[in-house]
Symmetry: C2
Subunit: 407 residues, 2 copies
């Protein structure tokens, strides 16, 4: 039994029934709406706190009609790691990293795809396809395999190698496309007619966002329902940012939040691909496609996002901002976070460290504000960004220990 009442067009508010497969409405995404009064009667904070620590503990706020639909690889609550040294580096006293790399397939994409695949199973779908710039393909392939579905993945030819391999390993038919994720998206649209697959593109079905929403639900619970002041979120398709704001709205309506304050949401991009930042700065609600998109942070190499207006609305409503950081410094921020805190942040999260540097220096973030950075995936999935030539010790070599220690 689900508490979903209907789906609602994010652009014009049109209601659509939730008891059948839905995709976009007038080419724009749909929200999933719940009977929150009934949810509030059925679920208490105390009950939630006693449930298993997975994203499914917020069951009544999630769309599956039947637990048997749920396709799971054990999506645990991810740790919220205090980062005193990283904060200190920028004169901040309360910085956390929410480490999404500890999810199945090593990235936050598991949340959205676990939900999307579960709902696809609920509706009897057996063939799915996705365009992906990075980790979404691996997550989709894994959950599709777990559900016994046939899966197709289209990724830019220069997607990190591990993302390519993990899709193939899990049995997805995987293709490298000369182009960007937008070109991959076009192929998924074209193939749909011929092959009848279901399109799992970001926001093109309503449920991935409900999976990503659990980041916000967890964060609220981990902060004992008193939300942090600032959230730095690497923004490609933006589902996570949108999903978290939706989570906060729903929690507010349930009366679960300790106060009225909401985090200022910061959409972080690289200056190598910053369509949302440009639109934010020029006061637009819709973003122009970003020409020549190039960044080592493959997950935010998204030159055009179908949910652009949803991201920009959410950022503005929160009193947040959109920040583009210097592409050439991303590796430096990866090292900084890893060396100070032992957290192998991915390039996308490293961009957030850059935003932390910028926004603390400018005074936009105050020293005592509680700040959360999302580490959306494991650095280990980005050998291209980590690559290094290490010193070698030959067989029988007489090691100069002092030099070794200082080197």
């Amino acid at each position: 039994m689900s508490y979903v009442t209907y789906l609602e067009s994010a652009l014009d508010g049109t209601h659509l029934p939730a008891d059948r497969v839905q995709t976009l409405h007038n080419d724009r995404p749909l929200w999933v709406r719940y009977d929150l009064a009934a949810v509030g009667r059925a679920m208490t904070k105390e009950a939630v706190s006693r449930r298993p620590p997975t994203m499914w503990r917020y069951r009544e706020l999630l769309p599956p009609a039947d637990d048997h639909s749920i396709v799971s690889l054990g999506e645990g609550m991810t740790p919220l790691l205090p980062c005193a040294r990283l904060g200190e580096q920028f004169g901040l006293r309360q910085v956390w990293v929410k480490d999404e790399s500890q999810l199945p397939t090593g990235s936050f994409k598991s949340r959205g795809l676990a939900m999307a695949i579960s709902m696809a199973r609920q509706f009897g779908i057996t063939r799915v396809a996705i365009p992906t710039a990075g980790n979404a393909g691996g997550a989709m392939a894994a959950y599709a395999a777990r559900a016994g579905m046939e899966a197709f993945v289209f990724m830019p030819h220069d997607t990190p190698a591990i993302n390519q391999y993990e899709c193939h390993l899990a049995g997805a038919k995987t293709f490298l496309v000369d182009g960007l994720i937008t070109d991959c998206g076009r192929l998924v649209r074209e193939g749909k007619e011929a092959l009848g697959w279901f399109d799992l593109s970001t926001l093109k079905e309503p449920y991935r966002i409900e999976g990503k929403k659990t980041m916000g639900l967890e964060l609220a619970e981990q902060f004992e329902w008193r939300l942090p002041e600032v959230i730095l979120y690497p923004t490609g398709g933006g589902t996570g940012l949108i999903g978290m704001c939706k989570a906060f709205d729903e929690l507010a309506q349930l009366g679960w939040l300790a106060d009225e304050r909401r985090p200022r949401m910061v959409a972080v991009q690289s200056d190598g691909c910053a369509p949302i930042v440009r639109a934010f700065e020029s006061g637009q609600r819709f973003a122009e496609p970003f020409a020549g998109a190039a960044t080592v942070a493959s997950g935010i190499r998204v030159p055009a996002a179908v949910g652009d207006f949803m991201i920009l609305d959410a950022v503005r409503a929160s009193g947040g901002c959109a920040v583009a950081v210097e592409e050439p410094r991303i590796r430096e921020w990866m090292r900084l976070a890893a060396r100070l805190e032992g957290i192998a942040v991915c390039p996308e999260a490293a961009a957030c460290v850059g935003a932390l540097e910028r926004l603390s220096a400018s005074g936009w973030i105050k020293p005592d504000e509680r700040v959360v950075i999302f580490n959306t995936g494991a650095a280990q999935k980005y050998p291209e960004a980590m690559q290094v030539e290490l010193p070698r010790i030959a067989k029988g070599e007489r090691v100069d220990w002092r030099q070794l220690a200082s080197g």
Copy 2:
């Protein structure tokens, strides 16, 4: 306050005090012993079940004297994933994968190194070194960084690239050695004199095993204190296998287990490096070094293990066995598990899938026995084992959808 009473030589039973730094005794490892009667009075199953779902929930059975010593990256309880399709493949009805890839740094090594580094901090150690064949280096570097310690890592020159990069990313001084992990171990011993680092080699300090022990504690709790019949464990240094058996012993003494039965422990190796299997088959208690060790499963490329007799004792006492699987089939078993279950098992765990095939075919594992495979790390950390050339779609290419679907 810790419940540790003393350390005990695993070979001759000598007692050593636990209130100072200890390494080996007569070149052989030490057990950590507890006042289990006091532990039993201080900790109940019910209390444990209400604690946060991390490896630290078994606090009284763990060595840190002070919570402030604990160095954590959020080591969550790892999921125990039912694998009906994988089991069915081999005529088995109850197969699970315990997915250790969802730990920090993407491998089970986090458990041991979180504990070893915590204890090193407790004793005021500030410089640590480790020889590693794979994931231990990355885990050590991460926890050392988290603790603010200086770290040195020595790894065979052909260790998977990601393991090399992750150590460097976290700031460890990392060296590639022409040779195997045993050669790396020699360098760590030699450098100790000159540089005064603490040697975190497998079993050369008593606490990594206490971290690995939590795999057994979790497993027992997840099976509601009724242990499974068979555990398949990829065996390099063997700390995990030894640690789990120690966990089961301690739980038995606490009276927490539902019955007397213990899992039959299966030490799984590749026939490219099978010293433990050879010793097991020839009835030896100590293993001869394995010449020409070569396997894609880098974590079990350990030609000589300091805890050989502890592994062999534990396997034999449990009624288990040691199995070497065909090296050339490891990639096939990786694909099998990933495609049937959506779990990206590492090459070491794939070897366990091979053992499952062998032992079910021979009847050693019965159809209704409960079997657990440990996925000790994320396949994503092994690009060398996953590598594949994917089909490419050129710009403007007219796609033949039917061919694409069948290809």
